[in-house]
Amino acid sequence: MVSTLSLDAINTLAAMILLADFMLVASSRMRSLTRIFALQSLAMGGLAAVVAFETGAEHIYVIAVLSVALKAVVIPRFIDYITEKIQVNREVEPLIKIPGSLLICAAITILAYFVTEPIMELGTAITSNCLAISFATVLIGMFLMVSRKKAITQVIGLLVVENGVFLAAISTTYSMPMVVELGVFFDIFVGVVIMGIFAFRINRTFETVDSTVLRRLKD
């Protein structure tokens, strides 16, 4: 039987993840973006640990630790390092203003709830009600990617999408098999490194990381 304490912990962490989504959308500084992302990953790791504790599946502990180490420590630091290195200015530069973005994200969350509600009713997992939040996280991550100008903010959007997928896997099936998760982590890590280098190169070539400028062809 699931203890109410774990259920409360799961609910609180899930609410924190959703809150972090909105904070990401609301923040206007690059620094706070990475910090909030680290916080969200920390909550994600905590949630995975609680699930591991409740189900007794040991491989989830490993995944939780890896998730915290990689997404809450290594990747945010790396992104901070890149931003510092390429001397990009610290404003986020959204294409859609922040109040508008927040309202769109609120609409996205409600949409995610209505889309996942029939599935959540069928779910038997203790975390099944996190599915709506994971769906919202994926969609808000995508929204971050399309509505922010800088290449680095788009990387963060992609990472948020990955967090959402991770949460979806945990909340429906108590996470994917170990091999798959490890593969995903590796993929994300390499992806971020490559994108970091890309951002660096883009900055060197075009003297900006504003992705709207990249549309113009250059000889």
Binding site: A15, L18, A132
Partner: protein
């Protein structure tokens, strides 16, 4: 009936004290000695001894507004549980309270326009811009508490949360509390939104609207604003964190209720003073950012109530 009368009188009598307390705490954080905590009482007493001057172009709205504002806050304080939750809520619920404040704001904005001075109109338009986002935020965040406790009656909400212990605590509660706190700052002309102690034309919202009032009218306006601030703090203390409030009208219960509410109000005053001393006033054009953040917090509170 008697208890709500006593509570209303208490709220009206104590409201200048808490305004004075916040000013004193702010002065302390800024390294000043500051005026006495009782200074707002002296200010009100002085204003009540003076005559009101009303512009000859002003209509009846100008003279009616102070009384409308005062009546609105008195009526609202009848419905808000202060020390005890019992024998209250005989006339209205949270929606009435929110719209009593709405009526107060409406008349203040009208009076700002009525006198015909340019500052008054500016203040009115700004106040309405701010309240367009703040009002739904307040409704949504209090609705979250209504969902959690299963009633829209303010004292009923307070009672059901206080008596069931911590079982009803959900993430939604804290999201709604955060949203309500930001709205409290915005509604009561506190620092990130408005500066309560300035008369600089470009920055003021609330002060611009009451600029044309004087004497007894000004005293009523000031007193109703102070009472409104205290009412918001009391709602925050007793609806969102009602533990300790008296529910059965015993001597022991009333004693703990009094101590609990005083402690909670002290903490909130400290929080407001801290926010006011550590933050700068926001530019008017950046305000929608903060206000939509608080709006989406309250929306999130409602959503997370349904999801989780």
């Amino acid at each position: 009936m008697l208890t709500s009368l006593v509570q209303t009188l208490l709220i009206l009598a104590l409201s200048p004290l808490f305004t004075g307390l916040i000013r004193k705490l702010k002065a302390y954080f800024q390294g000043r000695q500051g005026a006495s905590v009782l200074q707002p009482y002296w200010d009100l007493a002085k204003l009540f001894h003076k005559d009101s001057v009303v512009s000859q172009d002003a209509s009846w709205i100008m003279t009616a507004t102070p009384y409308v504002c005062m009546t609105a806050v008195i009526a609202a304080s009848f419905m808000v549980p202060f020390i005890t939750t019992s024998s209250l809520g005989f006339v209205g619920d949270l929606i009435v309270v929110v719209y009593l404040f709405g009526m107060m704001r409406f008349f203040m904005a009208l009076a700002g326009l009525d006198a015909g001075s340019s500052f008054g109109g500016m203040g009115s338009s700004r106040e309405m811009t701010v309240s367009a986002i703040v009002e739904p935020t307040i409704l949504l965040s209090v609705f979250t508490m209504a969902l959690i406790s299963g009633t829209t009656d303010l004292s009923g909400m307070s009672q059901s949360l206080a008596t069931t212990g911590f079982d009803l605590v959900r993430p939604a509660l804290f999201l709604a509390l955060a949203a309500f706190f930001i709205s409290t700052l915005a509604e009561n002309a506190r620092v990130p939104v408005d500066n309560p102690s300035t008369h600089l034309e470009l920055t003021m919202i609330h002060e611009a609207m009451v600029l044309e009032h004087s004497g007894k009218h000004l005293a009523l306006m000031e007193w109703s604003s102070m009472t409104k601030l205290l009412l918001y703090l009391v709602i925050m203390a007793n609806i969102f964190l009602p533990w300790g409030i008296d529910t059965d009208l015993t001597v022991l219960g009333l004693a703990t209720g009094t101590v609990a509410i005083i402690l909670k109000l002290l903490v909130f005053s400290l929080a407001i003073a801290l926010v006011e001393s550590s933050m700068a006033k926001m530019r008017l054009f950046r305000l929608p950012n903060l206000l939509t953040v608080s709006f989406s917090l309250s929306l999130l509170a409602v959503i997370s109530y349904y999801i989780l």
